[in-house]
Subunit: 289 residues, 3 copies
């Protein structure tokens, strides 16, 4: 099919463009980019130098794609079979993806997605809205990352992991999945809502870090962590409830963190308490309707 390139799109001369491509108004495609077949790039999207967009990739409006990203990267099937299947990638609106990030086909990412540099996201990663993933993080695919999750730099998310809303994962954390390495069993880790996993901790296969729990830096977690508990050490032990933690300087309570921190969160500028009440009111109304 013929391509539909908006008159107001700025496309460098050397860009290679496949067939059945739609490029919206106000898009900029910089030199060295390569656009495959059956690609949709919605209005106001910016592709910096040398971005590779493979077949069946859809970038919603307002995307900012850093230099030399690879979007819709080939699954292993590409190397092994003669025919490459249908493995679409959808990137939600207003994405901000920093340079050299690689995102596989067969993925669906929500709106307001942000990455650092050189992130790798393999296939079948379900990623919600307002998710941020830091430089060098490696999402191994076949996992679920819900809305407003924050992964810092250099985090490794094994297959079958589930990371629930508002969870935070700090640098060099690994969510493992093989209980008897090497084996064919894969038991994913679950990080529940509002949980915080600090720098360099490792969560063993199949375990759950409970809602609002705090895993200390360098903890090796070998048992489930109950909701709201603090666990530290190798092997990790639950030492107290997060509510007992106070700031060293102010002496004030700092957890549950949603009452003291709001940047980038849906309760920003409103406060968690008020926001939560509004949420409940909406839900009650919805139930009654």
């Amino acid at each position: 099919m013929a391509n539909k390139i908006a008159a107001g799109a700025h496309i460098a001369d050397d860009v290679i463009i496949g067939s059945n491509v739609v490029i919206g108004d106000g898009c900029t495609i910089n030199p060295g980019c390569i656009i495959g077949n059956n690609v949709v790039i919605e209005e106001g999207t910016y592709l910096d130098y040398g971005v590779i967009v493979r077949d069946y990739v859809s970038i919603k409006e307002g995307g900012k794609i850093g230099a030399r990203c690879i979007l819709g990267e080939y699954l292993v099937e590409f190397f092994q079979k003669k025919e490459y299947g249908f493995h679409p990638l959808v990137i939600g609106k207003n994405a901000q993806i920093r340079s050299e990030t690689i995102i596989y086909g067969e993925n669906e990412l929500g709106d307001y997605f942000q990455t650092g540099h050189r992130v790798t996201i393999r296939e079948k990663s379900s990623i919600g809205n307002h998710v941020r993933i830091g430089t060098l993080s490696d999402i191994q695919g076949y996992c679920e990352i819900q809305d407003y999750v924050n992964l810092h730099s250099n985090v490794h998310i094994g297959q079958k992991s589930v990371i629930q809303k508002y969870a935070w994962i700090f640098p060099y954390v690994v969510l493992t999945n093989d209980p008897n390495p090497p084996s064919e069993s894969l038991l994913g880790v679950t990080i529940e809502e509002f949980a915080v996993v600090s720098t360099g901790s490792i969560i063993l296969p199949g375990l759950t870090v409970g809602a609002g729990a705090l895993v200390g830096a360098g903890a090796i977690v070998t048992k489930n962590i109950e909701q709201g508990m603090v666990a530290v050490g190798n092997p990790a032990k639950a030492v107290c409830h997060t509510e007992r933690i106070t700031d060293n300087v102010t002496g004030e309570k700092v957890y549950p963190w949603q009452y003291t921190f709001d940047r980038g969160m849906p309760w920003q500028d409103i406060g968690y308490e008020k926001w939560e009440k509004e949420q409940q009111r909406y839900e009650n109304n919805a139930e009654q309707a």
Copy 2:
């Protein structure tokens, strides 16, 4: 010398090709690739967009090279001397190297070599057949990685390491080598056959992890680990023999793992027991002959 490009090779118009280059039948060289001098690319090899192949690189038949790999990367000498020496790279047949991997010159890799993305392999790394190295792993060179070794993502292999056949190394493991940092002594780590080093463990300089041993996640290994033993903790202590480990669900023994796992191994579909007997029969025949 004149280049020998097979009639059946598909080479994009903008590819830069040096002199004395041989490209075999059925090869595909995508746009943006740069091919140096004295390069051999055997039949059926695929170079995705923007691969840089420097001088004296040889890729055996059937290679699949992902976008923007750099093959035959310059040794430090390139930056420091006026003349750059002869530092060939040989990649065995049927390699499958994912995008943005960097492999230095002065390396020889076996057949069926596989990598994830953004692997770095420095010079004088001897790598056997059927070796797999995961995303972001960093092989510092001057080391030996034998047949059927599996390195998962983000593994750091210090210089002078030796990793014997069928060993497994999981994410964020570091094999160190400097006993008194910073010093000029380099004492490499040895990981023996069938040993398993779990996520995030660190092996101190000069130590040996014995054949079939299992190092637990996050272990800091400060002493040799005897064959077949399980070591955990910081500092790591041997806690039992691997044969005492049973699967949490089935209750069955899981180690030695070669009896319960075969994917990608030479005993795949035959079973280790039968395969081993055949191996011994071959060896006996060879001795008698």
Copy 3:
């Protein structure tokens, strides 16, 4: 303004060059490079294939820039505002930056700067002379790295860190900064002169590793480490003074390391003792003058 390209500069035909660019004699700019506006590339600088140099970047004489580096990378402002501000990058003379390194604008790096591959350096990182940063290391910006600091591979330097002269940091070390994650407080770590932080250790927010101290591999540092002390374990405990450490083979003292190691240090070939005396003599003379 018109560009000033020296007659003796070798610039590939396809290189894209902005306006107000100065390129010195003896420079080589390889194919695929992109040079922005208001860029100065001093004499004898080498840009390998596909280097992106953004606006207001200045590379002093003798730089060697590996393939596909991105120099002057965009701050987050680029994605968020209509107008991008003035964020210059200055790279000191005789830099040796390996392929695929990303260095942000608004940075000033000293002379003889060296990196491995795929290093990331964000804005407002003050970096001294003779600093070396290994493959995959991630400098998060807003930090200070003084002269002759060595960071090995895959080191993560959080914002507000200070690393003083002659300090060494080994692979997979993380300098953290958030005392109550997630929070808005940032308390940087200080690594004092001559301190050594071994592989895989994590330093908690706001702490100081004292001058000449040695942090053992895999240590989780939760308290300040006194000058010259050795700390190991999770949580780390000070176990002895570094002067009590002897080499396993020779039985000789190895710390303070500056007396036994000199490669790349200003006392190379002179010895620390003699060099230090000379330094003091200079300082005394300067005071008297």
